[in-house]
Symmetry: C2
């Protein structure tokens, strides 16, 4: 059953592009060898011998994609929310992350993160671990066993962080990273590495240059943070005076997208014209993290503009800047803050619609993983079967209406079945 | 058991004022004849004979208060959220509310609203029904049976609404209101009426004048909407040219607070100086509805200013402008939008803290019901026993930290017991 073939029957809903929502009432979703073979109003003859799970009346949508989440922060989500970014990092984040130097602490804490991720609607995630190799490998072991499909980063940081967390110099950080990568060969099917310089304030030029070298050698993707908070941006300009703007401080070291270097940058609340142009040129993915940008009082990213300009983009929970891992929640948050931005900041950028937010949380972010986030043919088979009868009486609403209510009202209680890359998680 | 006496043991947390959170770890909360007798670290001798429910390790807080919710809108919450206020009213609200002219529709729809309200954390609510007397009485019957303590309004509207919903003239609306009030005598203990002119655009001057007369005769409280949306405010100025500002359009008819006329005004996003001064003088309660003001792209109310000026205030879910009835969710929403307002609109108004949001959702709104919303002596006994172990391992966090996480993370699964005015609901 590594590459299974089967059929799901139910009310199908998926994105084709940011504006187009496809709905197939009482339709058939075919999985062939772990890949989506398409959606059908009538089941074609050649699939009629496949095993079928009858989910009539239930909503079936692609698995959701979280482009930005911090695994070690899950244990203190929804705490200290009265602080701003840099103060919150000092008070909560850094002391907690330090504890993961001790593998036994990782063994105690990471299982709850993975367990709750499995129970929720996300099938894919790009995850920050900590600087610690052993703890990161333990997290990757747990994720591999879970069936989720993830990219996980051992974090790099060699400056501006407490002694207990900072790696002892650029070379030590680079050596640890190479050591970590060396231990991954053949170890995982669904769990892949991603280079993770925490953000410019935490990484010296020497470290960044070395990571750029590793990136080229291994052809690895990259994830980091960008233009989240005005104070942070000013600090980056001081720390990296040779950069023309924040994004340039990654680009100078070959860590900002382009051919062979798929990159996710979280936040992009305050990206200026040059930075936006560079992201567009380099096909950098934006991880829009509305809850985190609200909780840490950072601001609201101009998502409508990024969509219009065709910059690759998905959603991030950014736990624990965000409090919930569910990307359904991130969709609702994204719509909501886009309305406030329209009202308070810039009425030329129309609010997001439910269809657009759903696109971002499925196909938009899924593109970082390849053909992921839709039910179009040849997409990887990530699917959620949702029993929405708790909040929508059967037969009372259209599929797009049921999807809108699911975005706002569903929680893990409502998930009946979940599939990631063809594998059934429950 | 009408006025029971008993003791709850657990981790107690309640507000004394907007800034002061009282915490009593492993304490005793005494209910005497349905009223709170106080909180104690050691159980005083005179209470040791009372029956005790041991909730050790659980969090015990006052029941939550929803100052603004529309019962007939519950069935379509989280739908049509891509519209603004006036368009949303035309498309969703008015057509749905029209159906309640048929008592059998009310019998079909209202039970889910009341059932879910019982399961959630609110013990008190000020509720808009519809214009229909029979349906409103049915809702009140259900609420009375539930044990919740509520104020319910038959809505008045005689203009600017579809024929199917509009009452046929001011006199008909006033007659229906008197007829409704006449049928309440002796019928309910926990379910009281409240005068409910929908908002100025829906109510002619003649209707407002007649409601002002009824208010004086019956000494009833009043609830309505105020200064929610710029388009709405401009419309009120056209419709009621003799008013100096929106709030004045209620005040002219004696429906805006003051001695003997307790009043709730929902929203107050755009109240100007004169309106704020009048609310303060008349002790008008503001129902702050952050989710609704976000979903309908109305804006963000200056809650910090209202707090500082001592205007009475609580929170409203405003379902179905809001999508969730839980006032814990409204607390989180209130904190979050206050941060965005601080960042985007006015950095002189500091964001709300978790303690302040908790105050608003308990004691702040509770004051509209009398001595409600705290565990201070002589307060009515409204209490929630919360098993927060799903998101906070026992013994790992302080009571204020557990409260913060409960605000952001809890849902109805986590409620172990619930009491309203001394009565145990579950």
């Amino acid at each position: 059953m590594n590459n299974p073939s089967f059929v799901l029957k139910g009310d199908l809903c998926f994105s084709r592009d940011p504006q187009t929502l496809n709905a197939v009432p009482n339709g058939y979703l075919v999985c062939l060898d772990g890949k989506c073979a398409g959606t059908f109003a009538q089941l074609p003859a050649q699939y009629q011998q496949l095993p079928m799970l009858d989910c009539t009346g239930k909503l079936i949508v692609p698995g959701l994609v979280d482009l930005h989440v911090h695994a070690p922060q899950y244990s203190y989500r929804a705490l200290g929310m009265d602080l701003e970014l840099l103060e919150w990092l000092e008070t909560h984040t850094f002391p907690e992350e330090s504890k993961y130097r001790d593998l036994s602490y990782a063994r105690k804490m990471y299982p709850a993160f993975v367990r709750d991720l499995v129970r929720g609607p996300n099938t894919r995630a790009c995850i920050f671990a900590t600087v610690h190799v052993e703890a990161t490998l333990h997290l990757m072991d747990l994720l591999e066993a879970s069936g989720l499909c993830t990219r996980v980063g051992k974090v790099n940081m060699d400056r501006n962080s407490p002694d207990s967390l900072r790696e002892p110099g650029a070379q030590a950080s680079l050596d640890a990273t190479r050591g970590w990568l060396g231990r991954l060969a053949g170890r995982y099917q669904r769990t892949k590495p991603i280079l993770t310089p925490r953000f410019t304030p935490s990484c010296s030029d020497e470290l960044m240059a070395g990571l750029g070298q590793i990136q080229k050698e291994f052809g690895l993707p990259v994830q980091s943070h960008l233009s989240e908070n005005p104070g942070e941006i000013a600090w980056v300009q001081e720390l990296c005076p040779q950069s023309r703007f924040y994004g340039d401080a990654y680009h100078l070291f070959g860590l900002f997208g382009g051919e062979g270097c798929p990159t996710i940058m979280a936040h992009c609340v305050y990206s200026g014209e040059e930075e936006i142009a560079l992201m567009q040129r380099q096909r950098v993915f934006i991880a829009h993290c509305p809850a985190s940008n609200t909780n840490l009082a950072s601001g609201i990213a101009p998502v409508r503009r990024y969509l219009t300009e065709g910059i690759p983009m998905g959603l991030g929970s950014d736990v624990a800047g965000g409090t919930h891992t569910s990307i359904f929640r991130a969709m609702a948050d994204a719509i909501q803050v886009s309305k406030l931005r329209w009202r308070l900041q810039d009425s030329t950028l129309a609010p997001l619609t439910a269809a657009e937010a759903f696109y971002l949380g499925t196909l938009g972010g899924g593109a970082f993983f390849g053909k992921v986030g839709s039910f179009l043919p040849r997409y990887e088979f990530d699917a959620l079967v949702i029993d929405d009868s708790r909040y929508t009486p059967q037969g009372s609403r259209s599929i797009p209406e049921r999807l809108e209510r699911t975005i706002y009202l569903s929680d893990d209680r409502d998930l009946a079945h979940k599939y990631a890359a063809g594998k059934q998680l429950f």
